[in-house]
Subunit: 435 residues, 4 copies
């Protein structure tokens, strides 16, 4: 045991009346909600990068945190792994997620980097055997090193494409060996800083080829998990090709990848793309692309990715409604892609962030389940579309009626449709009964 | 002749040194640019709605303009048509565009409304025979009347879908009879005001069916023009399904419409979707979806659609570069989807707007053509991607190499790619030599 | 009695378990919160414009509502007044607010317009005698008529300034006679559409003079209420001079008006200016400028003023915290500057909007009061600044120490300040205990 | 001589036809514009931080540049100074600007840090004696070190305030000794990350006291330059107190600082605050607060501070118009607060950025001067306000007329003001004649 969280006891569920800041007030993993354990609904995961690798820097200042594993190479990586699993235990976390670069230092060559990652991977494997925390997903960091400054799969230099392939092969295999449920592709540099030096068509072809290679390799090694793309509109690039769910769908469809890849949807990325989180979830669900979720929130006034912990029950309830109506997240889960603020420099702050986030998810899950169980809301929405259940309407959608038929019918029957209230305020009030 | 533009002579090209505000300084329609007449490159069109139907209102105030055709029903519609063609002549405009609701007042029934539209359509036909102005595109207004408040094709009420079909049939046929080169679908209400009362999947199915009906009818009547969707992310709706080019592509691809429909791309809509105009053009070109352009600009500080006339040569030059590299707009053109400000209440203001816009387009076209003719810029971009011309790189894109092959090669050859400058500043300076 | 709300009974408090959509679930006017009646904390008001004058139009479509008072001149104005007071009774509303143009039609001259306003004002006076609803504030509409298209007080034409003065004099006097607690100035056209035709200095001088005239007249007639400016950054203008609270403060200070005018702060205007609502409240409180509140919310994805009803208890709780810490709103209140969506066309929708909004305010008030009563939060914030209570620190703020003194002290004592956690996540969790 | 710019000759003016990317095409320092040398109008400065201290990192990746002075402590600082002055010579730059932290590494104590800064300051002094480059302004970096994570002057810990004082004293004195024309205060951390842990009133009092201390010390040491605040709305903080020019004015006015401090206005900061650059210049000019300019541009689609080189002549011309009408920048100048992109890793890229920026400034200066010399534009704007030159109108502004007087006059004379065209399109076209 390290002494990083010295004096802090495991976080327990104490109920809504607890005033203990180091206790769950709502997250009660074994509580049944709509017939399923809360933990099995949420499948919460801790993100290695924000929690253990981020140092508190921002564009105008460097490291504010002071961690015993900084600047110590592989020895630091081992200390970091120890603290990570101590924290997983403290929080009783069922899942975690990582990039290769989060867990081990870069070596002088790809081979050495990959060996470093594998060495820590072995430590993970041992710790996972003795503990309960599993791997929600793994991923490769193809954006921090300067070699990726102009993209990984979309780099103008094919050697960078190859290097990225070598990195992904390693992490995909490690993810598979650690029993990970998903492998995620986030294309932070797959896009452009300026259109002036960019061939969009060429780069998209490269990206599609890369994903095909990943899918083929996943099949070859017998990986049964989901492969997920994580949409984000921009940052660090000015424009990223995986802008939002609808854009990713078009890309996958174009390159015959739409049946093989789903989306990992992040709250803050939805916001930066001009959408609500529930919108992105609803779009993904309508396209059969809802894979997993990166739980966080974005500051409403900041134009960059702030990755804060979720803290609004009303907002998150709308998200859970979409997820529950879609039958849940399946192999996906809620990865806390969230970091404590750079002024939150104490070890306990890491716990406060996750505790608060989990409590918000728990309240939201229960609210959404109650909303669905009540049924009033769903009935109101169904009633709005009831007209499309008629035989004539079905014939239209079924392709049995032409434009001219419809025009003739309107003129003949002098159809003059009367608008009906959209009832937005009524529905908002109704939902507020449950949050 | 009406006296609306009394005392104003036809607008002529007078050259860059002219200080006459009612003359073209750069737009010289017969001047050859890259071997083609300037007019044939730009194919400029005047939008009936902003120029003749808009009354100067905004959300906080009503009509500011005072036009002799207001509040006069069909008689007003005829006066309006007279003034419109007088203005087309004054500006020597080769094209115009219209919605049905712009040109004729709504009747008590769909049949009467359509008859009104046809009556003015006949006036247009006569005027077009004696003049040179042609129809770039027609479209149906499926958003202003309260019956469309919850959408047209995506309305929860199938009768509204049918009504919209009746309207589109009429305008599509009129567009065809007037020799229009394109028919445009803009779905200002095809989206939602609140996700709370909306079934996205159901509504998208409806929209796809509607477009299929339009395509089938166009084929039936022998319409040879392009059918275009005009992307816009929001406004009037909170969210519109035709968010941007990439989203429209995914939708069309999903419903087997991608070979039948292209995009009409608007500058201000690109901006509201978080993109540059040239980005949307480049994406459309890479997808074979570049159909036509709605020329305007958005105020950089306003969060709504301001539809101002284009006035930045540097920005518009980047757009023309994309268009020229794509082989031009074909049957498309530059429709001025732009309105004079609500304080610009004089008839001459309508002319200033279009003259200034055309001069900006003319300067930009010449700048882009010169940039391409010079060749330095294109060579710099090609050089950046030269690596992908090698045999090994082509094998990657050709699907001949696996992830494992690539990984092995990197480790074996100890490949360590070195970044190369993206040269953004150099390229920006280079382009500034031409604007 | 009109039959507008036919069949709807007065809205009563039924408690949190009620499923009646036409009942208050949380707003219980006589319930004591922190020793004061809930109604006396909130002082809710109904806005005449959104509720009775707005017709459901937006920039892409006209009227969707169908009200018995439309298009009927003064007769319609009387019906409208009847329905308004029926609704005030139904909702048991203690306050309302109006512009002159909301309540009576414009006449052929200023004199006639003012007489129309006064005639309806007399109806109001009679109804107010027999009912309990009072006037929170009155104001003049200086933005809808085309004469104000280039501003009212800031118009380049001094005759418009004079006309506006004539309108304000009338409404200010009516507000006084009706016992209004406040008079509001909202400068929707006091700004510019383009800086190109604007002299900012000249216009600001005009605006300051106008406000001085209003203040002097208010004093002359014995008006004891507050005079309030309502900040908004833009819309309808591209830029409005009353951008936000800090900007208004600078303007008032510059022209010696800062002791005579306070702010009416609107949620959605704060958002459009790039601020949170609680930020604007906190700034106003720190400057002694917190006068009243326009309660609403803005859609998070729309770039224009959406004026929706508040529906987020967590967000509104932060606002109430600022208000309660400031000692409450005094003569101010919560005016629902909110409108039902244009698809919410039924009379009942008007009630749903206000009921939901009031319930959110009630829950938020109670949450904020509980947060303050608990004390943990305030103590945590006080502790953060405790260092400034020391004698040395007070000497610094008291101006007793020079830059050189401080520099010398740091070097001599080798002061090396250590950062302390900002505890953002801890505080967020703490607050979530109360919402 | 270092070999950093090996093989690159001094940048010369070669005229608009030059295709040499390492030549000025428009910036011709001795060319007279409106009777003054171009260099004396622009007073361009090179920013030490972006050019020599920034390493190419962003929130998702580290250093991309490879400079011989990195990671070498004071020895590196000396190499950096050598290269900096070589670059000043290559560009023939008349000015530069720096933060203390840019030029020398932090020491173990404030005393050591300050000594490091002074040691490099002496090198600067020697180089400035033999060269022509002078100091436009100096400033202290009070935001990068973790001690400042919660602010400098506004820190909850008074020791941090003191530490900041010690740093500013040193740089202010060095700036004075090096003959700097200005001293700049940029409060990147003077604001908050969350309002939840923040006392705005307390922090503003601290900030005002700090500025008073700086002013007093500047007077004590005989510094004759301007003291400038640089407004920015946010980033790194969520909210910064120096939001924009109007906010800074209110703050200065409140604390009796408005006659002692002016503004250093940055293009990108104006954009992030929701303003155009020319707006901020016009506001500052109207308040007598226009001190200096940070020349750059922000990406239009990115929500963070991108600090790119200016490249739009039309936009920058509007800025120069405001500056020239204000009588020029006096002791201020155009500091290129701009950095090459992180992919622009070659030494020549640093030159391309500055060359392109200077050429844009030169073209814009000439365009604005020509616009003013022509006079048509100014006359049009004057004509718009001509009504306020009448005796009656002057009496209004002079406070000789009451609200009641004005109201009576409107009713008596039946004044009915008619709107006049705002002529926005005409004015835009007019300006486009000069760019």
């Amino acid at each position: 045991m390290t002494d990083f969280f010295k004096g802090i006891s495991p976080i327990k569920f104490e109920g809504a009346d607890s005033t203990n800041p180091l206790a769950y007030r709502h997250y009660n993993k074994d509580e049944l909600v709509a017939g399923k354990r809360m933990e099995d609904h949420i499948r919460p995961a801790i993100a290695y990068w924000h929690t253990f690798a981020w140092e508190g820097g921002d564009p105008f200042g460097g490291r504010t945190f002071d961690r015993p594993w900084y600047d110590k190479g592989m020895e630091g990586a081992r200390i970091k792994a120890d603290v990570a699993f101590e924290m997983f235990d403290l929080l009783d976390a069922p899942f975690f997620c990582f990039h290769d670069a989060d867990i081990a230092p870069e070596g002088a060559t790809l081979a050495e980097s990959n060996r470093n990652v594998r060495e820590i991977g072995e430590i993970f494997a041992r710790k996972m055997q003795s503990g309960r925390t599993r791997l929600l997903w793994g991923t490769a960091n193809l954006f921090s090193n300067r070699r990726y400054m102009s993209g990984a799969a979309t780099n103008p230099d094919p050697d960078v494409f190859a290097y990225a392939a070598g990195q992904v092969k390693n992490v995909l295999e490690l993810t598979h060996e650690l029993g990970g449920d998903n492998y995620v592709l986030w294309g932070g540099r797959e896009g452009y800083e300026t259109l002036l030096n960019t061939k969009i068509g060429q780069e998209q072809d490269q990206m599609a080829r890369f994903i095909h290679l990943v899918i083929e390799h996943a099949e070859k090694i017998g990986f049964k998990g989901q492969v997920l793309i994580e949409p984000k509109p921009q940052e660090p690039s000015k424009h990223q090709y995986d802008y939002d769910v609808a854009t990713v769908y078009g890309f996958l469809k174009r390159y015959d990848l739409d049946t093989k890849v789903k989306c990992n949807i992040e709250v803050g990325h939805a916001f930066l793309a001009g959408h609500s989180f529930e919108h992105e979830l609803a779009v993904a669900a309508s396209l059969g692309m809802l894979g997993s979720v990166d739980a966080n929130r974005n500051d409403l006034q900041s134009g960059w990715d702030t990755d804060q912990f979720p803290n609004s029950v009303p907002e998150t309830t709308l998200a859970f409604y979409q997820i529950l109506k879609n039958g849940g997240l399946g192999k996906g889960g809620f990865n806390f892609d969230a970091k404590v603020r750079r002024q939150s420099i104490d070890p306990a702050d890491l716990l406060y962030g996750h505790i608060g986030g989990l409590d918000v998810l728990a309240r939201s899950l229960k609210a959404a389940a109650a909303l669905i169980a009540d049924g009033t809301y769903d009935k109101a929405v169904d009633a709005r579309y009831a007209g499309w259940q008629g035989a004539d309407a079905k014939a239209i959608l079924g392709g049995k009626v032409s434009l001219a038929d419809l025009a003739a019918r309107v003129e003949k029957d002098n159809i003059n449709p009367q608008p009906r209230s959209g009832q937005q305020e009524y529905l908002e009030n109704l939902i507020n009964r449950f949050v």
